[in-house]
């Protein structure tokens, strides 16, 4: 199954979890996605291999950045009609609080969704959504078809 078929199958089944199964890094981290009512949420399941500071048991900043980036990517795949993985042009991650040894959630919003470029804002939290632990702002290049892009990747 190629990416395109996988996306179509996951949409048909209404199960964003199927998207994750195709991405080895998402499985390595323990990132999953779920639809809760009208909301698309990313979830980073806590695991000891995500820790960046063993002394205080805090999550590695890179794992939080990965959750934020993945949530933006999969929301784009899930809710728009693009047919290939969006390519990250840039991402700025703001670390607001240290991540504790519990699950982390993330929600993305499209600040601007054009034909070629999307700007996405993502927020991550743990116990209390009003106390976010990190946020990201990111641009993605949206590619029609597969394999080619303006950035010659």
């Amino acid at each position: 199954m190629n990416n395109l078929e996988r996306i179509a199958a996951a949409r048909a089944a209404g199960d964003p979890g199927q998207l994750v199964e195709a991405v080895p890094y998402a499985r390595f981290l323990g990132v999953t996605f779920e639809q809760r009512g009208s909301e698309f949420l990313g979830r980073l399941k806590y695991s000891a291999h995500l820790v960046g500071n063993a002394t205080i048991g805090a999550l590695h900043g890179g794992t939080i950045g990965a959750l934020l980036e993945s949530t933006a990517v999969f929301k784009l795949l899930w809710e728009t009609d693009i047919v290939a993985l969006p390519k990250v042009i840039n991402i700025t991650v703001e670390y607001l609080r240290s991540g504790k040894a519990v699950d982390t959630w993330a929600r993305a919003e499209f600040t601007r969704h054009g034909r070629r470029v999307a700007n996405v804002r993502v927020v991550a939290w743990q116990d209390d959504e009003q106390q976010p632990i990190a946020a990201a702002q990111s641009h993605f290049l949206l590619v029609a078809g597969t394999g080619t892009s303006a950035l010659s990747r």
């Binding site: 190629n2 990416n3 195709a22 991405v23 080895p24 890094y25 998402a26 499985r27 390595f28 981290l29 000891a48 291999h49 995500l50 820790v51 960046g52 500071n53 063993a54 002394t55 205080i56 805090a58 999550l59 590695h60 900043g61 890179g62 794992t63 939080i64 950045g65 990965a66 959750l67 980036e69 993945s70 993985l85 390519k87 990250v88 042009i89 840039n90 991402i91 700025t92 991650v93 703001e94 670390y95 240290s98 597969t146 394999g147 950035l151 010659s152 990747r153």
Partner: protein, 189 residues
């Protein structure tokens, strides 16, 4: 990401090289996620650090191309920048990433290690500013100095004029980060 080195009780005038080596070993071995990624901190010197992320199939973000996920590169850059900040401090204390911007200049190549060079270019009492570059070149000498590349206009990829400096062309990503520096233990008011 907060980090805590627990070394502030030792005398100030320790050998810099020894401190750098401690930071290098701590980040390679005592940070669970760095170890889980297979990350190696290759070199730490005052204000600078270099790390390597060897290619691994479980780090793939795009199964069609085999390119590793941006999240793994975020972890690599965050860790290397953290080392550069800690090695620039007179007393080793705890630092935390405030923000990290990463510009992806081109995709990493499947099967190859990604290296990161980071440099702390401005240190104030409470905040450190860091820049970093991610690339595939094990022999690169310009730690963190991605702004110093030679601008050239040679023809490239069919473009009439390539507005890319030669260092940036070979880079996967450039990054700018800011870190907060906590007061060393014992010196806090």
């Amino acid at each position: 990401m907060p980090r805590d080195m627990h070394e502030t009780s030792e005398p100030r005038a320790r050998d810099r090289a020894e401190v750098c080596e401690r930071i290098r070993v701590a980040f390679s071995e005592a940070v669970p996620h760095n170890a889980a990624l297979g990350m190696k901190i290759l070199r730490v010197e005052p204000r600078r650090a270099r790390a390597e992320l060897p290619y691994r199939e479980d780090l793939i973000g795009d199964p069609t191309t085999g390119v590793i996920h941006g999240g793994a590169i975020t972890s690599l850059i965050d860790a290397t920048c953290g080392c550069a900040v800690l090695s620039s401090l007179r007393e080793v204390t705890r630092v935390a990433t405030l923000d990290l911007r990463i510009d992806y200049l081109k995709a990493a190549q499947p099967g190859r290690s990604v290296f990161c060079d980071a440099e702390c270019y401005r240190l104030t009492p409470h905040v450190a500013f860091v820049r970093a570059t991610a690339h595939h070149d094990a022999g690169r000498h310009d730690a963190g100095r991605h702004h110093a590349g030679q601008h050239d206009a040679e023809h490239h990829d069919g473009e009439p004029c390539d507005a890319t400096d030669s260092t940036a062309r070979d880079s996967i990503a450039t990054s700018a980060g800011t870190f907060m520096i906590f007061a060393p233990r014992g010196n806090a008011p």
